[in-house]
Symmetry: C2
Subunit: 299 residues, 2 copies
């Protein structure tokens, strides 16, 4: 199953370089191989205070909030979740190759006290020091990489960093003007709409269960909104994991984007030396980089 | 509804430049506005001999074959359709943010006579002269543009042109070695997997009904294959439009990629001057370019 020995002193990187055990021939190493050989310390466990459970009739969507990058929206969304603001609402829009969206379309619910709309298109002032730059080129940003584990762009002239609209990212819908609160949420379910970068506050990403969003029937109205004859998917609840009893949580670990295994995954996905590939792309788009998650072995 | 007058001498381009009727102010013009103002001659009607109807229980998926670019695969797929090869098979794989695939998983059906496997990763020898180059940069190809209306890449050193793995593109699945016949087909339902370019023969694209593919329940097996406990979506039939009575066809027109309206759409989608956008990206990824289709007005 795996082309690398499961225990080598210098770990996964050696396998990827094809230098293990005296052979100079490049060995095909899959992402699954690399993850199997990863170290426990290469995985992080997001704080339950930053995890949302979007409960749908068919199951649970696990979302990690980018609480450091967009503090006002994160605070709002946590307050909204605690006030049960989203419970009993519905997915009101599903536009193919674009987004699904859920909010109080009829504007009947009052926002809980303390919710403050703001413009958080750009990440917090400290983001520049946390940005992990990749060598990869990009069309929409001068630099790309990761911020707190989320795909991000950066402008080296302004030192601004922003989250990027990759598949599975979650954002705060807004009208015009630019402010948003987080009471309207959407998830990207199509080709990365990077033109939205710096135009919307992204608030996190789906770690698990994105297919529960990507498979909902598309709305036939303008922009994928449902018409009166269509039945939207109801939202059972949106809760913080920290507000759910520990026995009911979904344990999850995320591969650190500053780990050796993540670098090896990236290299594999740029080069694709496995025999099936006849042409090695040698490049990778930010939004084609896998961001592995796993259920801890003890569960 | 529309920011442009519906009849102006020089047409849509003038509106897009914001120069219509003496105003120098840029007017927001949506893609819908631009299409509304298009000329009839800017639309093409694909030949029914190049259109496939993939009939699923929930409806019809309309696929245009890239018959010029990949002649051997197109001939094979037409022969397979005429032999009812796909009828009664099923979607056997649905991998989130990647592809759905349909073929004879159990290898019980014989291929009709005349099917010849080949490697058509690169388009036909005449493709270089038909390639419409865009000014836009790309990560995966030195040049990008359109070939016969399909998104494509080009290498100016080798003059090779190939179809690009954008959302809704349809390809010929293969094992290793590299040959494929078209008896295994897949459609892209996620972020453009451009690493597959030049590694698989793309055979066409979905013009209509892609949501019937993108919303199927994902398989829980490896690579999105269905496990024994899951119920795949059956394929009622896969037919050529030319083999269907005219009264049962789905009339469809495709905006020409060499038309003024298409250029205006592209410019709008690069610049996004509508008020909602606070930041103009100024660039566009090949796979974010809309390829408009419509039902002719007479139907």
């Amino acid at each position: 199953m795996t082309a690398c020995p499961t225990r080598v002193v210098a770990g996964v990187a050696i396998c990827v370089l094809g230098l293990s055990f005296g052979t100079l021939e490049a060995k095909p190493v899959t992402v699954a191989d690399l993850l199997e050989n990863s170290q426990a310390s290469e995985w992080r466990t997001p704080s339950p205070a930053d995890i949302l459970y979007l409960e749908l009739p068919k199951g649970r969507v696990v979302i990690e909030l980018a609480s450091k990058a967009i503090p006002q929206h994160a605070a709002n969304i946590k307050a909204l979740a605690r006030a049960h603001y989203f419970d009993g609402l519905a997915i009101i829009r599903a536009q193919d190759n674009y987004v699904v969206q859920w909010d109080d379309e009829s504007h009947q619910r009052a926002l809980p006290a303390g919710i403050r709309s703001s413009v958080e298109f750009i990440a917090d002032a400290g983001a520049d020091s946390r940005f992990q730059k990749l060598p990869d080129r990009d069309l929409y940003a001068a630099e790309v990489g990761f911020l707190d584990g989320f795909p991000a762009g950066r402008d080296p002239r302004t030192h601004q960093v922003w989250l990027a609209h990759c598949y599975g990212m979650v954002g705060a819908g807004r009208d015009d003007p630019a402010e948003s609160s987080g009471a309207e949420l959407y998830a990207v379910i199509g080709n990365a709409p990077r033109q939205l970068d710096r135009n919307v506050a992204l608030v996190g990403r789906v770690l698990k269960g994105v297919d529960l969003l990507s498979t909902v029937s598309r709305g036939t109205g303008d922009m994928g909104f449902y018409t009166a004859s269509e039945t939207p998917v109801p939202i059972t609840s949106l809760k913080l994991a920290s507000d759910v009893p520990e026995s009911e949580r979904s344990p999850i670990e995320v591969l650190r984007t500053d780990s050796a295994t993540f670098r090896a995954v990236l290299k594999q996905r740029r080069e694709h030396h496995e025999p099936w590939y006849k042409y090695s792309p040698g490049v990778i788009d930010l939004c084609n980089i896998p961001l592995p998650v796993r259920t801890p072995a003890k569960h």
